[in-house]
Amino acid sequence: MELVFPTKPFKTHGGADVPHNKNTAQTESAVMSPPAQVVLPMQQHVGAPCTPLVKIGETVLVGQKIADSSAFISAPIHASVSGKVSAIKKIMLPGGQYTDAIVIDSDGEMTVSPDVKPPVAEALEDFIKAIRESGLVGLGGAGFPAHVKLNVPKDKKLDTMIVNAAECEPYITADNREAIENSWDVFSGIYAVLDLLKLERVIIAVEDNKPDVIEILKKIADSKTNDPEDRVRILPLHARYPQGAEKVLIKACTDREIPMGKLPADVGCLVMNITSVAFIAKYLKTGMPLVTKRVTIDGSAIRNPQNVIVPIGTKIADIIEFCGGYQSEPKKILMGGPMMGLALASDELPVLKQNNGILAFGEKEARLLEPTACIRCGRCVEGCPMNLIPTQLEKYSNAKDVEKLQEYDVMDCMECGTCSFNCPAGRPLVQAIRLGKGLVKAGGKK
């Protein structure tokens, strides 16, 4: 059966009208000069951590592989500046786990490694191997190694690629700027994947609060010369959080519902972030692995909010300095957006591969409601994109009732935070549910 393109998004459940605060959407990205030092943690992806391939004192060049793992679900790490490895030390990641990190003191030269050359990627196997070597992980924030996603099991037939440019997190505009500044890379990346994986159609999904992005991409996709067989189209989505969450996105674009515990490939879909797709094009052209990242720097405590392209591993404090520093005392610093981002204990942490934003909030934005009693208003139930009952799950989590947690499908929660955002009593719903998921995992699967 011939697949048709949707003309409007399919119905999805729940969600929230979060404030957009896309303050940096119209500002051209700045490129930061190399910092004096970068810190590259061995765990910047979902999967096995890497082991350093370099020793303290060794000289490294930009794009040189400095850490790798033999595990399938993992992604190598490359030097983002040229200079000398000054230390390999344990650091704490934003999530609280400890990992080794390679510290490179920059020589300020940014000398590119001779290993950096366009990869051979004509056949699918070579392409997947090349993507693995590039160190690419899902740049939307999840950080899932890209080659794993592209290595589709033989028994699964993919027909649709969804390019995720929804960017539903407030403040964050990194993908938005990528789409505008590198629209052609987005399309060459799409065509590379489209041809190699023999997909039928590509849907670029953009929330309708970004009309300029929709217009620019549409102009390319609708042209007969660029897209002769009309295999790529843009789908404007309702700007309603969390449209960009994988399961919600697939539902909105294709009306397919991923069965509980299954993956996008089980419904014939491949979802890739727009910046990831554009990176593939750049990598195929130049062979430069993932060593820089565009991050949105915003929040009331930042003097000059903007997108900055930085070497991965640059310390947050250095980037904020580049953006004019703090204009007021920061009370909360987030890695990622305000809905799912992690609050940091210090601005000395480095930017990671999948990082798309750093927000520094002042006193007013950092303060949250004191929780009061649940009034059973149902706003959490109405908002849950997974159709769960957050308020019940919160009770079962607090009671450590693993059986009830499982009965009420706690593991289906993707922790988007819509329930807590909506709660008029300020209850920490998703926070309790996270603990509940931990209890279920600890208690063994059903």
Binding site: V18, I375, N387, D412, N422, P428
Partner: protein, 317 residues
């Protein structure tokens, strides 16, 4: 700097809707009906509303103090209960009756079960039933609209449902009069247009879902039609609109999920009409809602929404 940063689990922003703002919206939505009650039944209506609200707020304050819990009168839910209790009495009752009702609603029904969100029956409706059984005579004696304009002492009449059911003497008001509230009845229940306005406001402000009022009134209308009664009369009479818009939608005592809300409201509609058709009482809104309140946990369990992706798994196995 490290020790000065707040580290908390996401999300880091909130919608801005708070319990207090929701209750404020409900109070605002009740205001047209309150104004109507003062116009129709005179200054005494305002006295009753003020006494009832004061009784509820004070009861809540004292209760929390005695129980050594944080003060919650700021959430304004006691004010809403107070207004609703006054809306459920005839204008002729003594202020002491509503004060008694307020204490019963807040102390016994609400705070003894843990406060806001924890009570399993509607406090205002339970108070109405307690007041009705404690003071049956004043609670069922109705003054004619605008009685206060006449120089004579309180003029009493029968309520429209009373006329219909018991054949009590009195002239049946026209449907138009019933729509604007010129009929005998409890303070807040007579002016349909004011109640509907309040309901629309609550739906627009997303404080309530229209599911409960529409299914409730719709069910009453369908049964009324089948029974060969005057459908508009059944909708406008008694406390149906007040109950369907403001009492059956009470968060604590109605189902949390959409399907549950519909089942709950249809059930309340059926019971209301069963009482109106076959019961000994002329009116059945209070009892229907309270009976359905008791079934809420069961309704919620039976109408639980299917989690995302769950059906598919079932079909495959």
């Amino acid at each position: 700097m490290a020790d000065k940063l707040i580290v908390s689990s996401s999300p880091h922003i909130r919608s801005g809707v708070t319990t207090r703002k929701i209750m404020l919206d409900v109070i605002l939505a009740l205001t047209p009906a309150a104004i109507a009650s003062v116009i129709i039944f005179g200054f005494k209506a305002l006295v009753l509303i003020v006494c009832s609200v004061a009784s509820c707020v004070l009861s809540e304050y004292v209760c929390r103090k005695v129980m050594k819990r944080e003060n919650t009168i700021g959430d304004l839910s006691a004010v809403v209960t107070g207004i609703l209790i006054a809306f459920n009495v005839p204008v002729g009752v003594s202020p002491f009756i509503v004060i008694f009702g307020g204490i019963a609603a807040i102390v016994v029904v609400k705070q003894m079960f843990g406060g806001i969100g924890q009570n399993f029956v509607n406090p205002a409706l339970t108070a109405r039933i307690i007041m009705m059984s404690s003071f049956p005579a004043p609670m069922s004696s109705w003054n004619t609209p605008f009685y206060y304009l006449h120089q004579t002492d309180a003029v009493t009449t029968a309520s429209p449902l009373g006329i219909l059911k018991e054949g009590s003497s009195g002239t049946m008001p026209t449907l138009l009069n019933m729509f604007v509230g010129v009929r005998a009845g409890c303070l807040g229940e007579t002016c349909a247009i004011a109640l509907i306005l309040g309901g629309i406001y609550l739906v627009v402000r997303k404080v309530i879902s229209p599911a409960i009022p529409l299914s409730y009134v719709g069910t009453v209308a369908v049964i009324s039609l089948i029974a060969g009664r005057n459908v508009l009369f059944d909708i406008l009479a008694g406390g149906l609109l007040l109950g369907a818009i403001f009492m059956a939608t009470d968060y604590a005592t109605s189902p949390i999920n959409l399907k549950g809300k519909i089942v709950f409201a249809v059930g309340a509609g059926v019971i209301t009409m069963l009482i109106r058709l076959f019961g000994q009482l002329p009116e059945g809104v209070s009892f229907s809602i309270i009976l359905m309140n008791l079934l809420v946990p069961h309704i919620e369990r039976l109408t639980r929404p299917l989690a995302f992706g769950k059906e598919r798994v079932k079909n495959e196995n």
